[in-house]
Amino acid sequence: MSVLLRTEGVYKSYGGVQALDACTIQIDEGTVAGLIGPNGSGKTTLFNVITGYAKADAGEVYLSDRKITNSAPDKVFASGIGRTFQLTRIFPSLTVMENMLVPCRGTRAADRKRAMEQLEFVGIAGYHAALAGTLSYGQRKLLELAYVLVADPAIILLDEPAGGVNLSLVNNIADRIRELNAAGKTFLIVEHNMEFVMGLCDQVTVLDSGTVVAAGPPDIVRTDRRVLDAYLGEDIEDTDEDPDPAEGT
């Protein structure tokens, strides 16, 4: 199995916060990979660096051995990395179909046909003429997925696809991902819903404070002590019973 996407020693800071700290991950072609970690561990920042929405301070990003570090978002998209956003970025006052046609700037019948196929695939073709702003939150997530699929990317990055979505739509999204994966698509998914991640992903990478603390199959990762430490937090009491540390005399 070859590596499709990898980052090497990526650093990124915002003000005084080191959001990514020597962050090195690799995603094998054909896998559904998960990226998890507690709040503020750097997951979305890593997505932003990979897709060109944030510039790395240091380190490299490779897509199939081609260096794409700090390329502009449209260049990254064109090179084969599609992504969705935690808070969906659709055009609410365009119709669902018009949203679909934005990336290919297409008015050709072939573009429409392809767009309609993707809407059918995610199950919202019935809303093609509706304004995107009238869709439910979960439906917007499906629209974003369909929109990304039109470009036929090699790898799809999903930022919280199950967040705020009702259970039946969550299952629908998981099924679509499995189908696409069976057809050869690679995924990298940030998600807080552990059942979703652990049930869907072949490989899970865990970030804490911008660094990878564990990577492997779900069953290995979720029994890893370092992962538990990342989620439950650092015990700030150094010693057992010492609530009143003596200051230097």
Partner: protein, 255 residues
């Protein structure tokens, strides 16, 4: 009703300040809280932890009246808070310190603290309360004339605590007091929480740093997916191996 919250922890005779039973609440079409029941022991520190999306902040918003519950009851010393406005709930003595920094940056520390008493409209009482608050937090008296915006994040937290104490709360709610603070500063903030508790304040806090929060607290509650999944003394919950499974799904080995 479960009696799990009434653990023989620090004080077996402690009565409950707040009793929440079967609380259902949410935004739009979905329920975030799906039947939450818990009790807050008088004189204690009760800490609610749980993974992202468990409903911790929604619970805080519901108790303080910012969000109306759809079902269930919240009894403060036998009085039902359900359906009351945030202002009424504040008057009954439930004061919340929000998650994000909430001081007026261009006003002085003293002015900010005094604002905590704005519903009292009694100058003499406000002055007495201010003196009492300075007794709990002597360090804040030293910053009184400074602009709040000039303080560090940890210092601002303390001023927010002081502001909340101006109403002598029957129950003080802290929503993620460690949010955005470095571990070193966290310790100062947690010491401040102990100081308030030692001065007689009953606290209910939500904390993302589960270990530190539970260690601090007399009672612990783990929420997951809108429900209470574990409760007991802070130490019992901290040492319960099931807590890992609630955060990461599946079974967690102890190895």
């Amino acid at each position: 009703m479960t009696e799990q919250a009434m653990e023989p922890g620090t004080n077996t005779t402690a009565r409950s300040v707040l009793k929440i039973d079967g609380l259902v609440a949410g935004y739009g079409g979905g329920d975030v809280l799906r039947g939450v029941s818990l009790e807050v022991a008088e004189g204690g520190i009760t800490c609610v932890v749980g993974p992202n999306g468990a409903g911790k902040s929604t619970l805080m918003a519901t108790i303080s009246g910012l969000l109306r519950p759809r079902l269930g009851s919240m009894m403060l010393d036998g009085q039902d808070l359900t359906g009351r406005s945030p202002r009424q709930i504040l008057r009954l003595g439930v004061v919340q310190v929000p998650q994000n920094h909430s001081l007026f940056r261009d006003m002085t520390v003293r002015e900010n603290v005094e604002l905590g008493a704005y519903i009292l409209s009694d100058r003499a009482l406000t002055a007495r309360r201010l003196a009492a608050v300075y007794d709990v937090f002597p360090q804040i008296a030293g910053w009184a004339g400074q602009k709040a915006g000039s303080l560090s994040g940890g210092q601002q937290r303390l001023v927010e605590f002081a502001r909340a104490l101006m109403l002598e709360p029957r129950l003080l709610l802290l929503d993620e007091p460690s949010m955005g603070l470095a571990p070193k500063i966290l310790r100062t903030v947690f010491d401040a929480i102990r100081q308030m508790n030692a001065a007689g304040t009953t606290l209910l806090l939500v904390e993302q740093n589960a270990r530190a929060g539970l260690r601090l607290s007399t009672h612990g509650v783990v929420m997951e997916n809108g429900r209470v999944r574990l409760s007991g003394t802070g130490r019992e919950v901290l040492e319960n191996p099931e807590i890992g499974a609630l955060y990461l799904g599946g079974a967690v080995s102890s190895g």
